[in-house]
Subunit: 264 residues, 2 copies
C-alpha cells in the first residue's frame, strides 16, 4: 500500500496495477481513488507504470511488460520473493518440486511460472499420500500456509523419498498471527475475523479460530457485523488477515464498542 | 559373516576383527572357531589382517591400521557406508548435522568420528525439542532406527530451522522387518523376538512387537525359550534382529515345534 501511495505521487499519470494489489476490496477501492487503475492483463496497459503486486508476477507478464518498455515497480512481498528464489534454486539443482499451498492462488501460480517443469501443488497430507515417490524432492510453502499443514505434508513425503530438502518459506508474521489468533479465540466468547472473502490466509485464519471457538465470524467490513453475534457475549476477540488495512480493523473495533455500549 | 568366512579361508593366520563382528554372541563364537580373533583396539593387533565390522570403523582406527600396514578387509554394511557418506556430504556443505539414533552405538560413533564438528545425536522428539535452532540443518538416521521416530524428530526440527535437508538413511530391510513383525505380532497369541540382548535393532523390534502383543519375549538362543510362554497359546510368532544368524532362528523354530508337539 505504501509503495502504491508513493508511486501515485511520483507517477500520477498512467499508473496501473496488474490485478488487484491485495486481496481486500476496500483497500483496492482506496487505490482507485488515488488514480491507480487495476488491469488484469498487461495487454490492457497501453503505457506508463505498472505495479506488480505483493503476490508476485508471472514470468510471461514480466517479459511482456519489459517488451512494452513499461516502467516497472515491483511490490512483490520480500517473503514471497524468497519463496520464488528457493523454488528456482531447488529446480535448478535437480529436485522435483512440491509446493504446499493453493494451486489457484496467484502467489503459487507466479512461483510456478518460473519453473519449466511439472510442479505439484497440494493442500493436505491426503493429497501428498496420493502422489508417487521421488528420488530428490524439494518442498516449499505458499507464504501464508499454516505450519501444521506443512508439517503433516512433510511427514508423508519423507516416507516416499530418499532425499528431502525443505525451505520453510512460511511467513513468520503469518504464523505468529495464527498462533496469537488461536490464543485469543480460546479466551473469548465470540471471535471476529476481518479480511477479504477471497483471501486464502483470512479463510485459514477463520478456520483455525473456529476450531477453538465455534462462534467465529468472518467479515469484510464493519457494516457486516451482526449485533446478534455480540449479544450475551462478555468477551469479543478480533483478528485480521494479512492484507486487511488497519483503518478497516479500527472501524470494526469502534463498531463493536458501540454495539456493546448500546446493549448495556 | 560371509566376508569373515572367506577371509578365514584366504588368510587363516593373524586374522582379527576390530570389536565383535556383529551384535550376536553366538555368531561371534562361531567366528572364534574359524580362528578369527576379536580385538577391541588396533594396538592389540600386531600384524596380519583386520576385518572392519558392519557398523563401520572409526577414523582414528582406520588411520592406525593404515599406519601399521595391516591388511584391511572392510565389511562395513553398504547401507551404513551410505549413511556415513551423506553425513560427510552434509557437513562439507555447511549444514549442522543431527543423527537420529543411539549416541553410544558403534555405528553412530563411527559416523561421528569423520566429522570435525559438534554433532547432535538424539533418540526422540522430546530431545529434539530441547535443542536450539538452526539456519541449515541436515538430518540422517542410524540405519536401524524406526521410521516413526525419525518422522517425529523431523517434524520438530522443521519448526526450528529455515532450511532442512534430510537423507533417509534408514535401512529398507530393517523397516520392512519391523512392519512385518508388527503384522505378525497382531495375529498371534505369543511373539518371540530372537537377537543379541545388546543389539539395539533387536531391542526396538521387541518394543514395537510388544505394543501390539503384550506377550512378546526377547531371547538370544533356543535354550532360553520357556515352555510356559507357549502353553495355552494357539499361534506363536517369530522374528529376529538384523544380525541374528539363520541357524539360531532355525533352532528356535525347531524348539517351538518340539515344545508344542509335546503339549498335545
Amino acid at each position: 500500500m505504501d509503495i502504491a501511495r508513493e508511486a501515485a505521487k511520483k507517477y500520477p499519470e498512467d499508473l496501473y496495477t496488474l490485478g488487484p494489489l491485495i486481496h481486500n476490496p476496500q483497500a483496492v477501492e482506496l487505490l482507485v481513488k488515488l488514480g491507480i487503475k487495476v488491469k488484469d492483463r498487461i495487454e490492457h496497459i497501453p503505457r506508463g507504470t505498472v505495479i506488480f503486486r505483493s503476490h508476485g508476477v508471472f514470468l510471461k507478464d514480466l517479459m511482456k511488460a519489459r517488451k512494452k518498455r513499461l516502467r516497472i515497480i515491483d511490490a512483490t512481498c520480500p517473503i514471497v520473493k524468497r519463496a520464488q528464489l528457493y523454488a528456482n534454486y531447488l529446480h535448478r539443482h535437480g529436485y522435483d518440486l512440491l509446493i504446499v499451498g493453493d494451486s489457484e492462488h496467484p502467489e503459487v501460480e507466479a512461483i510456478r511460472s518460473y519453473i519449466q517443469k511439472r510442479v505439484d501443488v497440494i493442500e493436505d497430507a491426503e493429497a501428498a499420500q496420493k502422489l508417487g515417490s521421488w528420488t530428490k524432492l524439494g518442498i516449499i510453502a505458499q507464504t501464508t500456509q499454516t505450519f501444521s499443514r506443512f508439517k503433516e505434508i512433510v511427514a508423508v513425503c519423507l516416507e516416499k523419498t530418499k532425499e528431502l530438502r525443505i525451505f520453510n518459506t512460511i511467513c513468520h508474521a503469518t504464523t505468529l498471527r495464527q498462533m496469537e489468533a488461536v490464543e485469543i479465540a480460546r479466551k473469548v466468547d465470540s471471535m471476529i475475523v476481518i479480511g477479504g472473502y477471497n483471501s486464502g490466509n483470512t479463510q485459514r485464519l477463520a478456520a483455525i479460530c473456529r476450531e477453538s471457538q465455534p462462534c467465529t465470524y468472518h467479515i469484510e467490513t464493519a457494516e457486516e457485523l451482526h449485533p446478534r453475534w455480540l449479544s450475551k457475549k462478555e468477551k469479543i476477540g478480533l483478528t485480521a488477515g494479512a492484507s486487511t488495512p488497519s483503518w478497516i480493523i479500527k472501524e470494526v473495533e469502534l463498531r463493536i464498542r458501540h454495539l456493546k455500549h448500546h446493549k448495556r
